[in-house]
Amino acid sequence: MPGSLQKQNHPLASAKGQIELLNDNDSIGIPLFEHKLNEFGLDPLKPTGIDILQINVGKMCNQVCAHCHVDAGPDRKEIMTRETMQQCLEALAGTNISTIDLTGGAPEMNPHFRWFVEKLSQLEKQIIVRCNLTIILAHPRYNDLPGFFKKHKINVVSSLPYFNARRTDAQRGEGVFDKSVKALRMLNAAGYGKGNPAWKLDLVYNPAGAFLPGDQTSLENQFKRKLAEYDIVFDDLFSITNLPISRFLEYLVKTEKYEDYMTEMVNAFNPTAAANAMCRNTVSIGWDGYMYDCDFNQMLELKLNDASKHIKDFNLETLASREIIVNQHCFGCAAGAGSSCGGATT
């Protein structure tokens, strides 16, 4: 991977370039997602409540995965400040939001990450950290992360697109599979992935190419069996569809698979999955404190359709009655068994 799209000055590095391509649905003969929602009485999509706050603490990452919807990488300098984190803490206090989901980039690379986790854990809410595994081995200062996670009863959610090196490395970079195996063993040694709800270790499967994920339970069984050969255990597997955004979109275009992939998602449209889209119970916060319906809308810079647009003006009441902004990438959340940061939705 030759660095982030931004570093390459690629036209799809900009949200505008991506939206223009996605909005040209006529030329590939697919309907508008909005019309599809309308057909099933789901338009406009509205929240059912706000239960999860997903906070993207920055785009910096030690990896440059080929499918990354964040266009993350070591060259990305966008990082959440402590001041914005403080605003998140203030917004969360006194709400009945149950879960805080920390993502990035590699969230651990934010210099205020540990401070933030310590503060968040005082709120006694469920905390998820989306850990890419290799960060644990990237530098000695990260080697103690398993213990840190354990101390704060973090639910660690980690991507491992496949149980072999060929497919994992093709998507996430040379040597990532071997390092991920080492990191998983360290997490297991700390007590993670062994059925204790305080130290839950979940894996994320996403297809290493232009195809949709299959049945989550059967994939989980395969992963459990295959990873046992490496003496690795984990709790749940979430199967996630690659949404046509950023680097995965660029991959689709470059390999001339864009049209087929979009059509495959449209053909797999499932109204129940659309009705269960994660944006209905989640609000996503960007590194600069702006709010979005989800991490994907964040990357497409589709700011929230609400009077309060920034975490400093967080207002649960207005947020709960907003209209969710949808676009063609949303077909990914509604395809087949559905897809969310917590896996299948049906």
Binding site: Y162, F163, N164, R166, R167, Y205, P207, G209, F211, L212, P213, G214, D215, S218, L219, Q222
Partner: protein, 110 residues
């Protein structure tokens, strides 16, 4: 490029009902039932389908079941082993007929 097999024709498969609806419908109903989870898992059936597709050398079926197996998370080694099963049975079938040839030779020679 003009070829005998066009990838986009796979999508037209269901169109065979146009000229013989009753039989076509019966076929697709049967086809759907065959691939439902039963005494064999969906995965096992798809791997068998992949092997058979290679035996009958149907490019449509090869594409369709490769895609289906990728969706199901089946790995490259498993798919290639299924193809080897097809190859072994094909090769074995030829070689097993070698006995027929040997019988004939033995019968005809002094």
């Amino acid at each position: 490029m003009e070829t005998y097999y066009k990838p986009e024709d796979l999508k037209k498969f269901s169109g065979i009902t146009e000229w013989q609806k009753k039989l076509g419908d019966k076929f697709f109903e049967y086809y759907g039932a065959v691939f439902e989870e039963g005494a064999l898992t969906k995965r096992e059936k798809s791997l068998i389908a992949l092997a058979v597709a290679h035996t009958v050398q149907c490019p449509y079926c090869i594409d369709a079941y490769t895609g289906d197996l990728l969706n199901q998370g089946v790995d490259e080694e498993q798919m290639m082993e299924a193809v080897h099963v097809a190859g072994a049975i094909r090769g074995g079938a030829s070689l097993a007929h070698g006995v027929q040839m040997m019988n004939q030779v033995k019968e005809k020679l002094m």
